[in-house]
């Protein structure tokens, strides 16, 4: 593909010489810069607010709001030591990791069965799982809330660990079916001839070859569960068991005077884990996003 891009770029240079440099700046670089500025500005604003002391935060007359004169760590300190933020972070991590592992486990088996065990109705099952992705949490949370209550899981992280796979499994299964499809079937046939069992084949041949797919599915699931909001809002009530997104909105926003410094510090620290995680696996992330759409 890089070859294709390169040859296209070459074509641009050869044929589009009328597109002079100033014109290119106006039509390509300037709009692109605007896009990047708008897309990133809220993050800059989040960060700069986090480090502002209150005196600067609410005084635009004497201080330039775009910059911080005396950066302070007071907001972050308050967040870490005067609220249950570390506990919220732990809960979120626990829920995200457990639901990701559970979803990947279920998805690998399901994708393998659908793609490789070749039974009648495999395509129908695949389509049904795909359709499950189209059922949004917004119409499920009320009945799920009654179920969670009846199962005695209300206010327990287990409720989230069990319900998050409903939107993770369809996506992961679909992604992994695509990956399994790209692994030559002959490899499995050879192993079958040699007397390997199906599960051995899955463990020793298919899974090692599908590692990039597993990583993509894992990253995606982790991010999605980290970001989930509506179930966590509906199923968890006690303060110390909340996940980060819910806790920041419901615990830090009190009364009419908002502590914007702490709120932004909370948002920044809540975004950082996913952002760092994401930065390590950008390529997997992009490929899983685009791969899922292309399927």
């Amino acid at each position: 593909m890089s070859e294709a891009t390169a040859s296209k770029a070459g074509a641009d240079d050869d044929y589009l010489s009328w597109q002079s440099r100033p014109r290119r700046i106006l039509t390509v670089y300037l709009p692109l810069a605007c896009f990047i500025f708008v897309l990133l500005f809220p993050f800059y604003w989040m960060t700069i607010t986090t480090f502002k002391p209150n005196a600067e935060l609410y005084d635009y007359k004497n201080f330039n709001p775009f910059w911080v004169v005396e950066p302070t760590l007071a907001n972050i300190k308050r967040l870490l030591f005067e609220t249950s933020y570390p506990r919220w972070l732990m809960t979120t991590m626990l829920v995200a990791v457990c639901s990701t592992v559970l979803s990947i486990f279920a998805s690998v088996l399901a994708a393998y069965a659908i793609q490789r065990l070749r039974f009648r109705g495999a395509n129908a099952v695949g389509l049904a799982i795909y359709l499950a992705y189209l059922v949004p949490p917004s119409i499920l949370f009320i009945p799920l809330a009654t179920m969670v209550f009846q199962l005695g899981l209300f206010d327990s992280p287990l409720a989230l660990i069990l319900t998050y796979p409903t939107f993770l499994i369809p996506f992961c299964t679909w992604l992994l079916i695509g990956y399994f499809k790209s692994i030559p079937y002959e490899l499995e046939e050879c192993a079958l001839m040699d007397g390997a069992s199906r599960l051995q084949i899955l463990r020793r041949i298919t899974l090692p070859l599908a590692v990039p797919g597993l990583i993509s599915a894992g990253i995606f699931s982790f991010t999605l569960s980290w970001n989930e909001f509506i179930y966590a809002l509906a199923f968890i009530s006690s303060s110390e068991k909340k996940t980060v997104p819910v806790a920041i909105l419901t615990e830090l926003v009190q009364g009419d005077v908002y502590q914007w410094g702490s709120l932004m510090a909370g948002s920044l620290l809540g975004s950082l884990p996913v952002a760092i995680f994401y930065s390590f696996f950008v390529d997997y992330y992009v490929s899983s996003l685009t791969g899922a759409v292309k399927e």
């Binding site: 294709a4 074509a11 709009p31 692109l32 990047i36 897309l39 990133l40 809220p42 935060l57 709001p65 486990f105 279920a106 998805s107 088996l109 399901a110 069965a113 065990l117 099952v125 799982i129 189209l134 059922v135 949004p136 917004s138 119409i139 949370f141 009320i142 009945p143 799920l144 809330a145 009654t146 179920m147 409903t166 499994i169 050879c190 192993a191 040699d194 051995q200 970001n227 909001f229 509506i230 809002l233 980060v244 997104p245 909105l249 914007w260 709120l263 932004m264 909370g266 948002s267 975004s271 996913v274 994401y278 950008v282 390529d283 992330y285 992009v286 996003l289 685009t290 759409v293 292309k294």
Partner: protein, 320 residues
């Protein structure tokens, strides 16, 4: 690949000594059942069953802590005369329509820009996805701060730096300002997904088509309408369906920024269902509002299905 030969495989086939478990695991129907069980079991329990339960709840008068009885269409009847409900339906449709048009317009533009030869392309692509991966609620809180009535940075720039306006804008204080502010935040969050997906579609278009068009003297606009757009259409249809579906059922952004205010003007159907169902305790009525979204979702799903089917047909019936 050639390295994996039968001689190197570490296992040792001992077919004769296998116990009943191994033989059971080699029987294909059993294996299929056991492989599908975790995924299908979880989905049936926590997705299909609640979906049915939700439809049932919509026809009962269930409250939190008290089981309900079947009341027929009573919930829907009371919603029919509920002005807040209709305002939520209106805003949901309006929000979805405007946000989708803007997201796709701007997203397509961004994808086309990224498809040009620009330096640091992969870095740009990586940072552009940031709004999409950061938890929506947290970026929504940032927008809340950006839209603050007294300390909005946008107002500051417009009034104190550029001098285009005389007074600070009350972004979230009046119904229409709040509605547009929420749409802007949704578009901001949605552009990366659209742009990156469409960019992937653009990169599959063969450059030789453009070269041929150039030799034939096609203008840039002609190249866009005759080559880029038609070849992008299948992927556009899929991304569009997902985007419409998730914008229509959006919850987080509105709940975080306005919670439906001012005077219930920015309620989406999902936030209204939540407000009536969970804090309000009227699970039956909340479920009825949620169920009212299903016809729209069915429409979007069917659209997606036929777009996919058409794509297969275009490719001569073969998968990628």
């Amino acid at each position: 690949m050639s390295g994996v030969t039968s001689a190197e495989l570490p296992w040792n086939p001992r077919r004769a000594e296998r116990g009943w478990l191994a033989r059971l695991l080699d029987s294909k129907p059993f294996l299929i059942a056991i492989c599908l069980f975790p995924a299908v079991g979880l989905l049936l329990t926590f997705l299909t069953y609640p979906l049915g339960l939700g439809i049932w709840l919509a026809f009962t008068d269930t409250h939190i802590g008290r089981g309900g009885v079947f009341v027929g269409f009573e919930n829907f009847e009371s919603l029919w005369y509920d002005r807040v409900f209709w305002s939520a339906v209106f805003y949901t449709v309006f929000y979805t329509a405007v946000a989708t048009v803007l997201k796709f317009g701007l997203g397509l533009w961004l994808a086309l820009l990224l498809n040009e030869k620009v330096p640091f392309k992969s870095l740009i692509r990586a940072i552009i996805l940031m709004p999409w991966i950061v938890p929506t609620v947290l970026s929504a809180i940032t927008f809340w701060w950006i839209y603050d009535a007294q300390f909005s940075i946008i107002s500051y720039v417009l009034v104190d730096v550029l001098g285009w306006k005389d007074s600070y804008i009350d972004f979230l204080g009046t119904p229409w300002h709040a509605r547009w502010s929420l749409i802007a935040a949704n578009v901001w969050r949605g552009i990366p997904f659209v742009a990156i997906s469409l960019l992937a579609g653009l990169q599959t278009i063969s450059p030789s088509l453009y070269e041929a068009a150039l030799l034939d003297g096609a203008s840039p606009w002609q190249r866009f309408t005759k080559i880029t757009f038609p070849l992008l259409l299948p992927i556009l249809a899929v991304v569009l369906t997902f985007s419409v579906l998730f914008t229509f059922t959006d919850f987080q952004l509105v709940y975080a920024i306005t919670r439906g205010g001012p005077i219930n003007s920015t309620h989406l159907m999902a936030t209204l269902a939540f407000q009536r169902g969970i804090p309000g305790g009227q699970l039956g009525e909340g479920a009825a509002i949620a169920v009212s979204m299903i016809p729209f979702l069915l429409f979007a799903t069917l659209f997606s299905y036929f777009a996919l089917a058409r794509r297969k047909w275009q490719q001569g019936g073969s998968d990628e």
